[in-house]
Protein backbone atom coordinates (compact mmCIF):
# COMPACT_ATOMS: atom_id res chain seq x y z
CA UNK A 1 0.00 0.00 0.00
CA UNK A 2 1.18 3.41 -0.84
CA UNK A 3 0.06 5.49 2.11
CA UNK A 4 1.80 8.23 3.97
CA UNK A 5 1.14 11.10 6.29
CA UNK A 6 1.10 14.57 4.86
CA UNK A 7 2.25 17.73 6.55
CA UNK A 8 -0.12 19.59 8.80
CA UNK A 9 -0.93 23.01 7.42
CA UNK A 10 0.40 24.71 10.53
CA UNK A 11 3.84 23.19 10.22
CA UNK A 12 4.74 25.47 7.36
CA UNK A 13 3.44 28.72 8.79
CA UNK A 14 5.96 31.30 9.82
CA UNK A 15 6.21 32.02 13.57
CA UNK A 16 3.54 29.45 14.38
CA UNK A 17 4.20 26.41 16.48
CA UNK A 18 1.51 23.82 15.92
CA UNK A 19 1.73 22.40 19.42
CA UNK A 20 1.10 25.75 21.10
CA UNK A 21 -2.10 26.59 19.25
CA UNK A 22 -5.17 27.22 21.35
CA UNK A 23 -7.44 24.22 21.74
CA UNK A 24 -10.85 24.47 23.34
CA UNK A 25 -10.60 22.77 26.66
CA UNK A 26 -13.65 22.19 28.77
CA UNK A 27 -11.79 21.24 31.91
CA UNK A 28 -9.65 24.32 32.29
CA UNK A 29 -11.94 26.89 30.71
CA UNK A 30 -15.32 25.91 32.05
CA UNK A 31 -15.02 23.55 34.98
CA UNK A 32 -11.99 25.02 36.63
CA UNK A 33 -12.38 28.45 35.07
CA UNK A 34 -15.79 29.97 34.77
CA UNK A 35 -17.69 27.63 37.07
CA UNK A 36 -15.18 28.33 39.77
CA UNK A 37 -15.39 32.08 39.30
CA UNK A 38 -19.15 31.79 39.16
CA UNK A 39 -19.27 29.96 42.47
CA UNK A 40 -17.23 32.73 44.11
CA UNK A 41 -19.62 35.31 42.78
CA UNK A 42 -22.67 33.32 43.75
CA UNK A 43 -21.34 32.91 47.24
CA UNK A 44 -20.83 36.65 47.60
CA UNK A 45 -24.22 37.27 46.03
CA UNK A 46 -26.00 34.89 48.40
CA UNK A 47 -24.20 36.42 51.34
CA UNK A 48 -25.31 39.88 50.36
CA UNK A 49 -28.93 38.76 50.08
CA UNK A 50 -28.85 36.49 53.11
CA UNK A 51 -29.66 33.26 51.30
CA UNK A 52 -26.47 31.38 52.09
CA UNK A 53 -28.07 29.21 54.74
CA UNK A 54 -30.89 28.18 52.44
CA UNK A 55 -28.39 27.32 49.72
CA UNK A 56 -26.38 25.09 52.03
CA UNK A 57 -29.48 23.27 53.19
CA UNK A 58 -30.65 22.49 49.68
CA UNK A 59 -27.15 21.46 48.73
CA UNK A 60 -27.00 18.95 51.55
CA UNK A 61 -30.41 17.48 50.73
CA UNK A 62 -29.63 16.58 47.11
CA UNK A 63 -30.72 13.05 46.15
CA UNK A 64 -28.44 10.56 44.42
CA UNK A 65 -28.02 9.96 40.72
CA UNK A 66 -25.72 7.54 38.90
CA UNK A 67 -22.41 9.21 38.18
CA UNK A 68 -23.22 12.11 40.42
CA UNK A 69 -22.01 13.08 43.82
CA UNK A 70 -24.02 12.95 46.98
CA UNK A 71 -22.74 15.92 48.90
CA UNK A 72 -22.15 15.07 52.51
CA UNK A 73 -21.05 18.53 53.43
CA UNK A 74 -22.56 21.90 52.87
CA UNK A 75 -21.10 23.78 49.94
CA UNK A 76 -18.92 26.04 52.05
CA UNK A 77 -17.35 23.17 53.97
CA UNK A 78 -15.59 21.85 50.89
CA UNK A 79 -12.30 23.58 50.35
CA UNK A 80 -10.85 21.73 47.39
CA UNK A 81 -12.65 21.17 44.13
CA UNK A 82 -11.51 18.77 41.43
CA UNK A 83 -12.53 19.15 37.83
CA UNK A 84 -14.79 16.15 38.10
CA UNK A 85 -16.53 17.49 41.17
CA UNK A 86 -16.94 20.84 39.49
CA UNK A 87 -18.66 19.07 36.58
CA UNK A 88 -21.08 17.39 38.93
CA UNK A 89 -21.66 20.69 40.65
CA UNK A 90 -22.45 22.27 37.32
CA UNK A 91 -25.22 19.77 36.82
CA UNK A 92 -26.98 20.54 40.06
CA UNK A 93 -26.24 24.20 40.62
CA UNK A 94 -29.10 25.64 38.59
CA UNK A 95 -31.77 23.72 40.46
CA UNK A 96 -30.20 24.31 43.82
CA UNK A 97 -29.91 28.02 43.19
CA UNK A 98 -33.46 28.19 41.89
CA UNK A 99 -34.66 26.67 45.14
CA UNK A 100 -32.39 28.80 47.30
CA UNK A 101 -33.60 31.99 45.63
CA UNK A 102 -37.29 31.13 45.60
CA UNK A 103 -39.93 33.62 46.68
CA UNK A 104 -37.86 36.78 46.52
CA UNK A 105 -39.11 39.68 48.58
CA UNK A 106 -39.86 42.94 46.78
CA UNK A 107 -36.58 44.62 46.03
CA UNK A 108 -34.72 41.32 45.64
CA UNK A 109 -36.82 40.10 42.74
CA UNK A 110 -34.86 41.74 39.95
CA UNK A 111 -31.31 40.83 41.01
CA UNK A 112 -32.45 37.27 41.75
CA UNK A 113 -33.97 36.99 38.32
CA UNK A 114 -30.83 38.25 36.65
CA UNK A 115 -28.61 35.95 38.69
CA UNK A 116 -30.70 32.92 37.74
CA UNK A 117 -30.69 33.92 34.09
CA UNK A 118 -26.94 34.25 34.21
CA UNK A 119 -26.39 30.84 35.76
CA UNK A 120 -28.86 29.24 33.40
CA UNK A 121 -27.13 30.71 30.37
CA UNK A 122 -23.72 29.50 31.49
CA UNK A 123 -24.92 26.00 32.35
CA UNK A 124 -26.80 25.67 29.08
CA UNK A 125 -23.77 26.90 27.19
CA UNK A 126 -21.74 24.22 28.90
CA UNK A 127 -24.31 21.55 28.03
CA UNK A 128 -24.45 22.65 24.40
CA UNK A 129 -20.67 22.56 24.14
CA UNK A 130 -20.74 18.85 24.90
CA UNK A 131 -23.90 18.05 23.04
Amino acid sequence: MNLGIGQNIFHGLHRVSASDLYKPDILHTIYLGLLKHMMDWIEAFLKKHGRLQAFDEVWKALPTYPGSLVPKNAYREVTQWQGKEMRKLGRCILGVLAVALRQPAGAHAIPFKRALRYVRALIDFNMMAQY
Binding site: L3, P24, I26, L27, P63, G83, G90, L116, A121, A129
Partner: protein, 384 residues
Amino acid sequence: MEDYLDQFHRMKDIFFECRVTKRTQAKVDKQQKEIRRQRALIRERVAPSQRRRMRDHDREEEDEPRMDMIHGESHFIFIKMHLLSHFCDHIHQFGNIPMYSTEIGELAHKTQIKEGWHQSNKNDAAGQIVHSYGRQHAIRMRLLNLQSQKNRGADLSPNVLKHLDRTTSTVSPPVICTRILKGRGGDVSHIVNFSRISRLSLEIIYRELIRYSRLNLPIDHGLPEDHATLRSLPIELLTQLEVRVLAFQEADVYEIHYPRSTSTLPFRNQGSRNDWVWVQAGTEKIYGALRGRLPAKLVALLKIRDPRSEDTVRRVAGVQLLTPVNAGCLSDLHGLVTVQMREDTPGFTIVDIGTILGLAHLIPEEDRRWLVNSRIDLRTFNEV
Protein backbone atom coordinates in the same frame (compact mmCIF):
# COMPACT_ATOMS: atom_id res chain seq x y z
CA MET B 1 -25.54 28.44 21.46
CA GLU B 2 -24.54 32.00 20.61
CA ASP B 3 -27.80 32.99 22.26
CA TYR B 4 -26.74 31.42 25.51
CA LEU B 5 -23.42 33.21 25.37
CA ASP B 6 -25.13 36.47 24.60
CA GLN B 7 -27.53 36.03 27.49
CA PHE B 8 -24.57 35.16 29.69
CA HIS B 9 -22.77 38.37 28.83
CA ARG B 10 -25.85 40.48 29.24
CA MET B 11 -26.58 39.12 32.69
CA LYS B 12 -23.12 39.04 34.12
CA ASP B 13 -23.13 42.54 35.57
CA ILE B 14 -25.29 41.36 38.42
CA PHE B 15 -22.08 39.92 39.81
CA PHE B 16 -20.09 43.12 39.44
CA GLU B 17 -19.90 43.57 43.15
CA CYS B 18 -18.31 40.19 43.53
CA ARG B 19 -15.49 41.08 41.16
CA VAL B 20 -14.19 43.81 43.38
CA THR B 21 -10.44 43.71 43.84
CA LYS B 22 -8.68 44.79 46.99
CA ARG B 23 -7.46 47.96 45.36
CA THR B 24 -10.96 48.98 44.35
CA GLN B 25 -12.26 48.17 47.80
CA ALA B 26 -9.63 50.43 49.32
CA LYS B 27 -10.60 53.22 46.94
CA VAL B 28 -14.25 52.80 47.81
CA ASP B 29 -13.50 52.93 51.53
CA LYS B 30 -11.49 56.09 51.07
CA GLN B 31 -14.28 57.71 49.12
CA GLN B 32 -16.79 56.82 51.83
CA LYS B 33 -14.62 58.31 54.55
CA GLU B 34 -14.26 61.48 52.55
CA ILE B 35 -18.03 61.83 52.16
CA ARG B 36 -18.58 61.28 55.86
CA ARG B 37 -15.94 63.81 56.85
CA GLN B 38 -17.46 66.47 54.62
CA ARG B 39 -20.87 65.78 55.97
CA ALA B 40 -19.67 66.07 59.57
CA LEU B 41 -18.25 69.48 58.77
CA ILE B 42 -21.50 70.81 57.36
CA ARG B 43 -23.99 69.38 59.76
CA GLU B 44 -24.53 70.45 63.36
CA ARG B 45 -26.04 68.33 66.04
CA VAL B 46 -29.46 66.88 65.28
CA ALA B 47 -32.26 65.99 67.62
CA PRO B 48 -32.23 62.29 68.65
CA SER B 49 -35.67 61.74 67.16
CA GLN B 50 -34.44 62.74 63.73
CA ARG B 51 -31.16 60.91 63.91
CA ARG B 52 -32.45 57.65 62.58
CA ARG B 53 -34.09 59.15 59.55
CA MET B 54 -30.96 61.13 58.94
CA ARG B 55 -28.84 57.99 59.09
CA ASP B 56 -31.02 56.15 56.56
CA HIS B 57 -30.86 59.12 54.28
CA ASP B 58 -27.10 59.23 54.58
CA ARG B 59 -26.78 55.60 53.78
CA GLU B 60 -28.76 55.94 50.62
CA GLU B 61 -26.67 58.91 49.65
CA GLU B 62 -23.50 56.92 50.21
CA ASP B 63 -24.70 53.93 48.26
CA GLU B 64 -24.93 55.69 44.97
CA PRO B 65 -21.32 56.82 44.54
CA ARG B 66 -20.23 53.50 45.95
CA MET B 67 -22.03 51.52 43.27
CA ASP B 68 -20.77 53.92 40.61
CA MET B 69 -17.26 53.38 41.80
CA ILE B 70 -17.61 49.62 41.87
CA HIS B 71 -19.12 49.47 38.43
CA GLY B 72 -16.49 51.77 37.06
CA GLU B 73 -13.52 50.02 38.56
CA SER B 74 -14.26 46.33 38.30
CA HIS B 75 -14.49 44.49 35.05
CA PHE B 76 -14.93 41.08 33.52
CA ILE B 77 -11.87 41.23 31.36
CA PHE B 78 -9.99 38.04 31.88
CA ILE B 79 -8.90 35.39 29.48
CA LYS B 80 -11.37 32.65 30.31
CA MET B 81 -14.27 34.96 29.67
CA HIS B 82 -12.98 35.51 26.18
CA LEU B 83 -12.08 31.92 25.35
CA LEU B 84 -15.75 30.94 25.41
CA SER B 85 -16.38 32.96 22.28
CA HIS B 86 -14.19 30.56 20.32
CA PHE B 87 -16.17 27.52 21.40
CA CYS B 88 -19.04 28.20 19.02
CA ASP B 89 -16.87 28.33 15.91
CA HIS B 90 -15.00 25.28 16.99
CA ILE B 91 -18.21 23.32 17.43
CA HIS B 92 -19.61 24.45 14.08
CA GLN B 93 -16.47 23.18 12.41
CA PHE B 94 -15.43 20.11 14.33
CA GLY B 95 -18.41 18.92 16.35
CA ASN B 96 -18.69 18.75 20.07
CA ILE B 97 -15.83 19.34 22.42
CA PRO B 98 -14.87 16.03 23.95
CA MET B 99 -16.16 15.86 27.46
CA TYR B 100 -13.31 14.72 29.53
CA SER B 101 -10.37 15.81 27.84
CA THR B 102 -8.75 18.35 28.29
CA GLU B 103 -5.28 18.25 26.82
CA ILE B 104 -4.75 16.46 23.56
CA GLY B 105 -1.30 15.36 24.63
CA GLU B 106 -2.54 13.28 27.50
CA LEU B 107 -5.03 11.40 25.37
CA ALA B 108 -2.53 10.93 22.62
CA HIS B 109 -0.22 9.20 25.00
CA LYS B 110 -2.71 6.36 25.27
CA THR B 111 -3.87 5.97 21.68
CA GLN B 112 -0.63 6.71 19.93
CA ILE B 113 2.00 5.34 22.23
CA LYS B 114 0.59 2.74 24.58
CA GLU B 115 -1.52 0.96 22.00
CA GLY B 116 1.33 1.11 19.52
CA TRP B 117 3.61 -0.45 22.06
CA HIS B 118 1.16 -3.31 22.64
CA GLN B 119 0.98 -4.03 18.95
CA SER B 120 4.71 -3.98 18.44
CA ASN B 121 6.92 -7.00 18.97
CA LYS B 122 8.80 -5.04 21.65
CA ASN B 123 11.95 -5.21 19.62
CA ASP B 124 13.21 -1.83 18.48
CA ALA B 125 9.75 -0.55 19.33
CA ALA B 126 10.08 3.17 18.67
CA GLY B 127 9.95 2.85 14.89
CA GLN B 128 7.07 0.38 15.03
CA ILE B 129 5.04 2.61 17.32
CA VAL B 130 5.44 5.57 14.99
CA HIS B 131 4.52 3.50 11.97
CA SER B 132 1.59 1.67 13.50
CA TYR B 133 -0.31 4.81 14.42
CA GLY B 134 0.50 6.50 11.16
CA ARG B 135 -0.70 3.50 9.22
CA GLN B 136 -3.95 3.22 11.14
CA HIS B 137 -4.60 6.89 10.73
CA ALA B 138 -3.94 6.76 7.00
CA ILE B 139 -6.17 3.73 6.51
CA ARG B 140 -8.98 5.38 8.40
CA MET B 141 -8.64 8.49 6.25
CA ARG B 142 -8.68 6.36 3.12
CA LEU B 143 -11.83 4.54 4.23
CA LEU B 144 -13.60 7.80 4.98
CA ASN B 145 -12.62 9.15 1.57
CA LEU B 146 -13.90 6.04 -0.17
CA GLN B 147 -17.10 6.18 1.82
CA SER B 148 -17.76 9.78 0.84
CA GLN B 149 -17.03 8.93 -2.81
CA LYS B 150 -19.48 6.07 -2.59
CA ASN B 151 -22.12 8.35 -1.11
CA ARG B 152 -21.54 10.77 -3.94
CA GLY B 153 -22.18 7.97 -6.42
CA ALA B 154 -18.71 7.40 -7.85
CA ASP B 155 -18.31 3.98 -9.41
CA LEU B 156 -15.92 1.94 -7.38
CA SER B 157 -14.83 -1.61 -8.04
CA PRO B 158 -17.03 -4.30 -6.48
CA ASN B 159 -14.11 -5.45 -4.34
CA VAL B 160 -13.80 -2.07 -2.72
CA LEU B 161 -17.54 -1.84 -2.18
CA LYS B 162 -17.63 -5.22 -0.51
CA HIS B 163 -14.80 -4.23 1.76
CA LEU B 164 -16.42 -0.92 2.61
CA ASP B 165 -19.66 -2.62 3.56
CA ARG B 166 -17.85 -4.98 5.82
CA THR B 167 -15.82 -2.39 7.66
CA THR B 168 -18.20 0.52 7.93
CA SER B 169 -21.67 -0.98 7.94
CA THR B 170 -23.56 -0.35 11.13
CA VAL B 171 -25.69 -3.32 11.91
CA SER B 172 -27.76 -2.20 14.84
CA PRO B 173 -28.00 -4.90 17.46
CA PRO B 174 -31.44 -5.87 18.71
CA VAL B 175 -32.59 -3.33 21.25
CA ILE B 176 -32.58 -4.90 24.64
CA CYS B 177 -34.84 -3.12 27.04
CA THR B 178 -34.95 -5.63 29.76
CA ARG B 179 -35.76 -4.72 33.27
CA ILE B 180 -34.61 -7.16 35.86
CA LEU B 181 -35.85 -7.36 39.39
CA LYS B 182 -33.25 -8.07 42.02
CA GLY B 183 -32.81 -8.47 45.74
CA ARG B 184 -35.40 -10.16 47.86
CA GLY B 185 -36.64 -7.76 50.50
CA GLY B 186 -38.74 -8.32 53.57
CA ASP B 187 -40.61 -11.42 54.57
CA VAL B 188 -43.51 -11.10 52.17
CA SER B 189 -45.47 -14.00 50.77
CA HIS B 190 -48.98 -12.60 50.48
CA ILE B 191 -50.69 -9.32 49.92
CA VAL B 192 -51.55 -9.10 53.60
CA ASN B 193 -47.86 -9.09 54.56
CA PHE B 194 -47.17 -6.49 51.91
CA SER B 195 -49.93 -4.29 53.17
CA ARG B 196 -48.45 -4.41 56.64
CA ILE B 197 -44.94 -3.58 55.48
CA SER B 198 -45.93 -0.83 53.08
CA ARG B 199 -48.50 0.62 55.49
CA LEU B 200 -51.08 0.76 52.73
CA SER B 201 -54.60 -0.40 53.31
CA LEU B 202 -55.66 -3.66 51.66
CA GLU B 203 -58.52 -1.86 49.95
CA ILE B 204 -56.16 0.42 48.04
CA ILE B 205 -53.92 -2.43 46.96
CA TYR B 206 -56.85 -4.52 45.70
CA ARG B 207 -58.32 -1.56 43.85
CA GLU B 208 -55.02 -0.71 42.17
CA LEU B 209 -54.26 -4.32 41.23
CA ILE B 210 -57.65 -4.70 39.60
CA ARG B 211 -57.26 -1.39 37.78
CA TYR B 212 -53.82 -2.45 36.53
CA SER B 213 -55.14 -5.81 35.40
CA ARG B 214 -58.05 -4.31 33.50
CA LEU B 215 -55.88 -1.74 31.74
CA ASN B 216 -52.80 -3.75 30.88
CA LEU B 217 -53.51 -7.46 30.80
CA PRO B 218 -55.47 -9.48 28.24
CA ILE B 219 -58.94 -10.30 29.51
CA ASP B 220 -58.50 -14.04 29.74
CA HIS B 221 -55.14 -13.72 31.50
CA GLY B 222 -55.99 -10.94 33.93
CA LEU B 223 -55.60 -11.10 37.65
CA PRO B 224 -58.60 -12.40 39.60
CA GLU B 225 -61.01 -9.69 40.60
CA ASP B 226 -62.43 -10.99 43.84
CA HIS B 227 -60.53 -10.08 46.96
CA ALA B 228 -60.36 -13.56 48.46
CA THR B 229 -58.49 -14.99 45.46
CA LEU B 230 -56.23 -11.96 45.22
CA ARG B 231 -55.37 -12.40 48.84
CA SER B 232 -54.24 -15.97 48.25
CA LEU B 233 -51.87 -15.16 45.36
CA PRO B 234 -48.22 -15.73 46.25
CA ILE B 235 -46.19 -12.55 45.84
CA GLU B 236 -42.59 -11.52 46.37
CA LEU B 237 -41.31 -8.11 47.38
CA LEU B 238 -38.04 -7.03 45.77
CA THR B 239 -35.73 -4.14 46.45
CA GLN B 240 -33.91 -3.34 43.27
CA LEU B 241 -34.73 -2.87 39.62
CA GLU B 242 -32.11 -3.00 36.90
CA VAL B 243 -32.98 -0.68 34.03
CA ARG B 244 -30.85 -0.41 30.94
CA VAL B 245 -30.87 3.10 29.66
CA LEU B 246 -29.55 3.85 26.23
CA ALA B 247 -26.53 6.12 26.53
CA PHE B 248 -26.88 9.51 24.89
CA GLN B 249 -26.51 9.44 21.09
CA GLU B 250 -25.42 5.81 21.11
CA ALA B 251 -27.16 2.83 19.58
CA ASP B 252 -25.64 -0.01 21.51
CA VAL B 253 -24.13 1.41 24.67
CA TYR B 254 -26.19 1.23 27.80
CA GLU B 255 -25.99 2.81 31.15
CA ILE B 256 -27.44 0.67 33.86
CA HIS B 257 -29.58 2.37 36.46
CA TYR B 258 -30.47 0.65 39.69
CA PRO B 259 -33.48 2.31 41.25
CA ARG B 260 -33.99 0.92 44.70
CA SER B 261 -37.05 0.68 46.79
CA THR B 262 -37.08 -0.69 50.27
CA SER B 263 -40.67 0.32 50.97
CA THR B 264 -40.66 1.25 54.64
CA LEU B 265 -37.89 -1.18 55.58
CA PRO B 266 -34.48 0.25 56.47
CA PHE B 267 -31.78 0.47 53.79
CA ARG B 268 -28.32 -0.40 55.14
CA ASN B 269 -29.54 0.15 58.67
CA GLN B 270 -30.57 3.70 57.89
CA GLY B 271 -33.86 5.20 56.83
CA SER B 272 -35.85 3.62 54.03
CA ARG B 273 -34.78 4.37 50.50
CA ASN B 274 -37.22 4.93 47.69
CA ASP B 275 -35.67 6.38 44.56
CA TRP B 276 -37.15 8.78 42.03
CA VAL B 277 -37.85 7.24 38.63
CA TRP B 278 -39.30 8.33 35.30
CA VAL B 279 -42.55 6.59 34.39
CA GLN B 280 -44.03 6.63 30.92
CA ALA B 281 -47.53 7.75 31.81
CA GLY B 282 -49.00 8.71 28.47
CA THR B 283 -48.29 9.88 24.94
CA GLU B 284 -45.70 12.48 23.97
CA LYS B 285 -48.32 15.20 23.74
CA ILE B 286 -49.28 15.49 27.38
CA TYR B 287 -47.52 17.06 30.37
CA GLY B 288 -45.81 19.83 28.38
CA ALA B 289 -42.03 19.66 28.45
CA LEU B 290 -42.02 16.32 30.24
CA ARG B 291 -43.50 14.70 27.11
CA GLY B 292 -45.68 12.07 28.61
CA ARG B 293 -43.28 11.02 31.31
CA LEU B 294 -43.81 11.70 34.96
CA PRO B 295 -41.37 11.54 37.80
CA ALA B 296 -42.51 9.17 40.51
CA LYS B 297 -41.34 7.73 43.75
CA LEU B 298 -40.75 4.00 43.59
CA VAL B 299 -42.40 2.51 46.65
CA ALA B 300 -42.63 -1.19 45.90
CA LEU B 301 -41.43 -3.79 43.43
CA LEU B 302 -43.56 -6.92 43.29
CA LYS B 303 -43.67 -10.25 41.56
CA ILE B 304 -47.15 -11.70 41.54
CA ARG B 305 -47.52 -15.33 40.62
CA ASP B 306 -50.83 -16.35 39.12
CA PRO B 307 -51.31 -20.13 39.47
CA ARG B 308 -54.62 -20.10 37.59
CA SER B 309 -53.18 -19.09 34.22
CA GLU B 310 -50.18 -21.36 33.72
CA ASP B 311 -48.17 -19.91 36.59
CA THR B 312 -47.51 -16.64 34.84
CA VAL B 313 -45.54 -14.08 36.80
CA ARG B 314 -46.58 -10.44 36.71
CA ARG B 315 -43.79 -8.00 37.48
CA VAL B 316 -45.19 -4.74 38.68
CA ALA B 317 -44.04 -1.65 40.51
CA GLY B 318 -45.91 0.49 42.98
CA VAL B 319 -45.22 4.17 42.46
CA GLN B 320 -46.36 7.52 43.77
CA LEU B 321 -46.86 9.67 40.69
CA LEU B 322 -46.15 13.38 40.85
CA THR B 323 -48.06 15.90 38.77
CA PRO B 324 -46.44 18.78 36.92
CA VAL B 325 -47.30 22.29 38.08
CA ASN B 326 -48.43 24.70 35.38
CA ALA B 327 -49.08 21.85 32.89
CA GLY B 328 -45.40 21.06 32.66
CA CYS B 329 -44.28 24.38 31.18
CA LEU B 330 -40.66 25.37 31.66
CA SER B 331 -40.29 28.25 34.05
CA ASP B 332 -39.12 31.35 32.19
CA LEU B 333 -36.91 32.18 35.13
CA HIS B 334 -34.79 29.10 35.67
CA GLY B 335 -36.03 26.85 32.86
CA LEU B 336 -36.95 23.90 35.05
CA VAL B 337 -40.23 22.12 35.56
CA THR B 338 -41.80 22.03 39.00
CA VAL B 339 -43.72 18.96 40.08
CA GLN B 340 -45.85 18.40 43.11
CA MET B 341 -47.58 15.64 44.98
CA ARG B 342 -51.23 16.57 44.98
CA GLU B 343 -53.46 15.87 47.94
CA ASP B 344 -56.38 14.66 45.87
CA THR B 345 -54.58 12.15 43.64
CA PRO B 346 -54.16 8.56 44.75
CA GLY B 347 -50.85 8.15 46.49
CA PHE B 348 -50.25 4.68 45.15
CA THR B 349 -50.43 3.44 41.57
CA ILE B 350 -49.41 0.10 40.16
CA VAL B 351 -47.59 0.12 36.82
CA ASP B 352 -45.80 -2.45 34.73
CA ILE B 353 -42.04 -2.39 35.29
CA GLY B 354 -41.63 -1.92 31.54
CA THR B 355 -42.91 1.64 31.84
CA ILE B 356 -40.11 2.65 34.17
CA LEU B 357 -37.56 4.51 32.11
CA GLY B 358 -34.74 5.19 34.52
CA LEU B 359 -33.73 7.27 37.45
CA ALA B 360 -34.83 10.88 37.81
CA HIS B 361 -33.12 13.68 39.69
CA LEU B 362 -35.42 15.92 41.68
CA ILE B 363 -34.43 18.76 43.95
CA PRO B 364 -36.74 19.25 46.91
CA GLU B 365 -38.19 22.76 46.85
CA GLU B 366 -40.87 22.89 49.49
CA ASP B 367 -43.13 20.47 51.21
CA ARG B 368 -44.51 18.17 48.48
CA ARG B 369 -42.94 20.19 45.67
CA TRP B 370 -39.85 19.38 43.65
CA LEU B 371 -37.86 20.81 40.76
CA VAL B 372 -36.99 18.41 37.96
CA ASN B 373 -33.27 18.80 37.41
CA SER B 374 -32.97 18.45 33.65
CA ARG B 375 -29.32 19.55 33.58
CA ILE B 376 -28.20 16.39 35.35
CA ASP B 377 -27.00 14.73 32.13
CA LEU B 378 -27.16 15.26 28.41
CA ARG B 379 -29.89 12.68 27.86
CA THR B 380 -32.26 14.34 30.26
CA PHE B 381 -31.26 17.75 28.93
CA ASN B 382 -32.25 16.57 25.47
CA GLU B 383 -35.52 14.96 26.49
CA VAL B 384 -36.97 17.59 28.76
